[in-house]
Every structure is written in structure tokens, then in C-alpha cells.
Symmetry: C2
Subunit: 200 residues, 2 copies
């Protein structure tokens, strides 16, 4: 990790982010200390301030990374699902979303846990474009005529997002055991709820 060669570290920013992530994988919480990260990186207690204005800014950077990773996971799931079966694409998306959350619970929590910005105007930031992907896939599916026709696409998209995000959240917070079987069943339910006819 913190293999510095001389006076300068080389890539302290990265090292700090990694240390922070490792820190709250070890504990369950985000209450690490900046000085601790500095020590971990082999640097004095003030070096981090050259890269982040404070703890909150460091967390924001991590959050950003998390959003990126989630979006990437979703895109990867889409290409893995192939372009043909629009219905399978939606399922793949939902599954990837939950799987990311369960696989990176700390990142997911952090992303979820923006400090509320002080009640200001709603930022309306969305988790890494995942919702846009989902909405797009649902539009494909609708165009293909497999989506149930009694609800507008926009509402279905929000419901699908909530369904998936809800399970992810419940599993990450361990209100529901995060086992594979449950995940698969949930995706099937999602399929049954939003699509018409038997699943593939």
C-alpha cells in the first residue's frame, strides 16, 4: 500500500481512499479518523488536507466512485445479457443492482448515506445512472410489447427501481438475509410482476 519512495508519496489520494474503504470494511461504520488514514498511508496527519478539504469531501469522493462502479456493474450485466431478450435484460439489471449492493455493502451504504445536504433543495442525484439504464431497458421491453400494458412506463420504472433498491437496502441493512436463493427468487418475482406471460 503506502510504499512511498521519498518525501512525496506518489499517489496519496488513492491511498487515502483505499485506506478509508478498508477502514470501514474492518469496522462497520464510517467513523474513521483522518489522522488514522494518514498514519495508514505513512504520512503525517496534515497531508490529507492537500487532497481533501475534510472528511466529508473524502467520503463524497468515495461515494462518487461507488456510483461509478454500480453503473459499470449494471452496464456489464446488460452486455452479458445480450441484446435480444429485452426481458432478460431487465432481470439482469435488477440482479446486478442487488448483487452489487450485497457484494459491496459498505460502498452501497455510503452511497445511500449522503448527509442529507442540510435540507437544501433536492439534489435529485441518481445512483450512477443505474435508474436511467433501468428506464431505458424497460422502454425497450415496452416497445417489444412484453411489459404489462395497464401502467405507464415511467411508473413501472420507478416501481422496478424501488423494488430492486428496496431489496438491496433491506439486505445490506440485514433486515433480510442476503442469500443467493432469495435474490434469485426476488428477480423472478420482479419478472412476474412487470411482464406478461410466462418467463423464459
Amino acid at each position: 500500500m503506502g510504499t512511498r519512495r521519498g518525501y512525496h508519496h506518489g499517489n496519496l489520494r488513492r491511498a487515502l481512499l483505499d485506506a478509508a474503504l478498508a477502514m470501514f470494511v474492518a469496522r462497520g461504520s464510517f467513523d474513521f479518523t483522518l489522522r488514522e488514514l494518514a498514519r495508514e498511508a505513512g504520512v503525517t496527519h496534515n497531508a490529507p488536507y492537500r487532497h481533501f478539504a475534510g472528511k466529508s469531501e473524502l467520503l463524497a469522493a468515495l461515494r462518487e466512485e461507488g456510483f461509478g462502479a454500480l453503473a459499470e456493474a449494471c452496464r456489464a450485466a446488460l452486455v452479458a445479457a445480450g441484446p435480444d431478450d429485452v426481458r432478460a435484460r431487465v432481470r439482469a439489471l435488477g440482479e446486478a443492482y442487488v448483487r452489487f449492493a450485497v457484494g459491496h455493502p459498505h460502498h452501497f451504504r455510503l452511497m445511500l448515506y449522503d448527509p442529507l445536504g442540510g435540507e437544501g433543495p433536492a439534489p435529485a442525484r441518481e445512483p450512477g445512472g443505474a435508474f436511467a439504464l433501468l428506464q431505458g431497458s424497460l422502454e425497450e421491453a415496452r416497445a417489444a410489447g412484453v411489459v404489462r400494458a395497464d401502467l405507464p412506463t415511467r411508473e413501472i420504472a420507478l416501481a422496478a427501481w424501488a423494488l430492486v433498491h428496496g431489496l438491496a437496502s433491506l439486505m445490506v441493512e440485514r433486515h433480510v438475509p442476503a442469500d443467493e436463493a432469495r435474490l434469485r427468487r426476488h428477480v423472478k418475482v420482479l419478472d412476474a410482476l412487470f411482464f406478461e406471460g410466462a418467463s423464459a
Copy 2:
């Protein structure tokens, strides 16, 4: 608030909890300080330790209260919905859940945000019995024959919970604007997804 009459405060515990709640309504975060709460309550920096072993224990107490309040809100919604229309009962539950979250975002966040307990065995704590209520209502509905028949009740219950919890979470985290219209539409979607035939 902190109207103490003499050496003793009278109800410091309550005062501290209220102060803590007020504190992260003011800011957006839980990073208040115990000393600050003590000042707010008009006692010295060590008095809180007579009531809570530390900050985490105070937060746990608040969480507990939140769970209680949520369960109460759900029960109230059930009685308000009346005993007859089992389908309306489910809708009322979902609506109450989201409404609670939107109405008490800090409490909801706090409840959501259990420090992960250090990766130990899943506590499987459920948000104030809300899930049990939902499951019960869905069983009523199934017995009445209004629930879609192609999915087991257990799965439907989990999906309904996820759907509702997901929207609550998305709204609290402001990924989705928390307006009334959206809430109502979402409840309608929930109804359409899980029940058969047109809604009342």
C-alpha cells in the same frame, strides 16, 4: 426543555434524546457531540454518561423509539382503513410506511443506519414489526382471494416490503422527489401489481 430545578435535572435522559434529534434535524448528520447535548440540556459534559454508555447507545435508544413510532403509525393506518376492505388495508400500510419515512427522514435514516454490528451474525431485526403487519395483511388479502394467485404469499410480502421500503428510502435519500402525488401513484402501482381486478 432543560428546565432543571436544582442539582438534579429531572429527566435528563429524555432531554438528551430530544436534543440529539433536534441536533440532526438542524444539521443533516449524526455527528453531534455528547458534550454538545449536555450543554444543550444545561448539564456538565459528564452527566450524559449516567444515562448512556456512549454515543452509540444513545443512538440505539433513538432507533428503538423510531421503530416503535413506525409500528404505531402502521397500526394506526390499519385501524383507519377499517377491517373490511383487505385490499385497502394493504394500501394503507404501504402508504403509512412511506409517509412515516418522508415525515421523519432523520429517524428513518437512523433506523436504517445501524452500524452493521461488525459483520456478526445477521440480527434479522425488522423495522418495528412493520413487515409482520404487512405480511399479516397480505395473508388476509390472499384469504379473501384478491391477491394474484401465481406467486406465494411469502414472496409477495417480501416484494411488497421492498417496493415500499425502496420508495421510502429513495425519497428520504432524495434520489426521488418526495411529493405527495408520486406517493399516491406509487401506492396505486403497488395495488395494481399485487391485486387482481380493478381497484376500488
